[in-house]
Amino acid sequence: MKVTLENLTKRYPNLNRRIKTEVIAVNDLTFEIPSGKLVGLLGPSGCGKSTTLNLISGLETPTAGRILFDEDDVTGLPPEKRGVGLVFQNYALYPHLTVRQNILFPLENLKGAEKLTRAEMLQKADEAAKLVQIDALMDRRPSELSGGQQQRVAIARALVKRPRILLLDEPLSNLDARLRLQTREEIRRIQRETGVTTVFVTHDQEEAMSISDEIVVMKEGVIQQIGRPQDVYDAPKNLFVAKFLGTPPINVFSARIEKETLFIGEEAVLPAPGLPGGTVTAGIRPEGFLPDPEGKFTLSLSRVEVMGRDTSVVAEHAASLSGAVRAIISSESRPDPESRTVRFSLKPGKVLLFQNDEAADRLVPPGQKEEDR
């Protein structure tokens, strides 16, 4: 099922009643969630991503705008009539009920034509449990399960009545790092197997990038960019998106363009054909540095870190706006850790130019848009 959000806006009265201004949690949001896709809503806390999820589920009603499930307008429908499955951040499993009773719970509420016999219910619960691979734990209480298992039960409970859309609110934030990796693959697998349109909310860009078909980057209630994860990473719309995506984060420098050439400090690091002169902000992805004794970009070396298969070079530069500069390089070209300076040449596709305003569109040299990739 396809979900369309049209000019969706949610305003709250300010908690401090003396301040008459309203808080705008979601501002004029318009986008479409394609049927059967896994979409990640991504942004720093307070960006309105959870509110958006709650608006889709119906737990909150929008101040303005419409929500369409396929062609049906569900804006005015209460959550129980929308046919959504929601997985809460802390799972919200009923602690006094067993896993089976938890999964059965939504089925037991069905009325009228949808009403099931006990045998049908048990069968559906078993199917859902098998799907998330917790069928061996059906008689346990949630407190007897690990975080990852509880998460699976919550997903099974959300899926058991075949919702039209599955919503996950920060599904992995309560899990430890190893389990997180495992569970996100699990979510991807379950989504693929069921083909249910899925929206999940996260502040962890790596999580969103790794399993989403599409990501929606939000900031302060406004969509910054929508697209396939790799596209958004490679061609961020503005400096905020560029900074938000990627670990380690992008290195940001104050730079300038003179005679169609990009200068960082006094060094002419790259040609910038077709761009007008002036000061700009240059973002260089950590993987955009190539150690090169003849390179045009000189940094003072702080240290070389080897972590597993990654070698990262930590360096300083006077023009850096993001503190220490971090470059990830292949281990063969590791610079001498004793040397004072290190020289790089830059991969043009990994150098992104922005206006100095974080929210302003990225500077794209005319005709270069495709070459960026």
Partner: protein
């Protein structure tokens, strides 16, 4: 060994205190209850046996007190707990004036029992000069005046139960409102998404979640009601036997200090009978609760 000596030393003050003021009197009561014909002035007794128990259990005053107490327990505990739950549910579903109503409902808790009893007496009493406020209300519904304080047994029992419920409710409301507030909102949201009918939310989510607190209130409610005494005194004065409104604790008190006082052995036997009753009821409660109370 050295460590445990230190531990015992630390425990000593508390143990001494408990021993002198709790264990010793308890044992003493037990001994009294078996000493037949004990004379408190001379400190002598004739023999040892079950005569005191037999006397108490055949004493019509005790049987009356037992009946009153059991009635009071059976009526007020379910009623007050149920009403408190209803009021708490109401309180937690309103936003405006919640604090105000919470305060109002809590007021009886901080009011002196005897003062409240006096007020109740004035409300319900029928005198040659006035029928009392309650009877004025009754007349509105076309019912005749009833003397609730000196009148028929059922009327007096009604006032006693009414009063008891009124006095014990604030604490229960306090406990239950905080128990209800501690149920995480996510459970209700999850239930809403799953189209759970309201009543089912209450029985399958709310009740189990607050069951430990509810159970605590039922147990303490039973114990408290079995120990009722001051409430009856506040309403009907000190001569409870004459008013037919005595309670077991009242009987114990009378045996010790009342007009018929000076019988510590009978008092001890009655007190132990009460103890056995409370113990039995609490054990039953605990057994039943094991199936229905959910602890996180």
């Amino acid at each position: 060994m050295k460590n445990s000596l230190k531990a015992w030393l630390y425990l000593l003050p508390a143990l001494l205190f408990l021993g002198v003021f709790l264990i010793y009197p308890l044992v003493d009561v037990l001994i009294y209850s078996f000493e037949e014909g004990y004379n408190s002035t001379s400190g002598t007794y004739f023999g040892v046996g079950f005569y005191n128990y037999s006397y108490v259990l055949h004493d019509p005053f005790f049987l009356k007190a037992l009946r009153n107490t059991v009635l009071l327990v059976l009526i007020t505990v379910p009623l007050s707990t149920g009403l408190a739950l209803l009021i708490s549910l109401g309180l937690s579903s309103i936003k405006a004036l919640r604090k105000f109503f919470q305060t109002v409902y809590f007021l009886p808790y901080v009011t002196n029992t005897l003062a409240v009893g006096l007020v109740f007496m004035i409300l319900f009493k029928k005198t040659p000069y006035s029928d009392g406020l309650m009877n004025l209300l009754l007349r509105l519904f076309g019912m005749g005046p009833v003397d609730f304080i000196d009148g028929p047994y059922w009327a007096k029992m009604f006032v006693l139960c009414f009063y008891t419920v009124w006095v014990v409710m604030p604490f229960k409301i306090l406990i239950l409102t905080s128990a209800l507030a501690s149920v995480k909102d996510d459970y209700y949201k999850a239930a809403r998404i799953d189209a759970t009918p309201r009543f089912r939310v209450f029985t399958r989510i709310t009740l189990p979640m607050i069951s430990p607190m509810l159970f605590y209130l039922i147990i303490t409610g039973f114990i408290g009601a079995f120990k009722a005494y001051s409430d009856a005194v506040a309403l009907f004065g000190v001569n409870l036997n004459a008013a037919e409104m005595n309670t077991i604790v009242g009987y114990v008190y009378d045996m010790l200090y009342g007009d018929s006082g000076g019988y510590p052995s009978y008092a001890a036997a009655a007190a132990l009978i009460l103890f056995v009753i409370v113990l039995t009821v609490t054990t039953i409660n605990l057994t039943v609760s094991r199936k229905h109370v959910f602890y996180d």
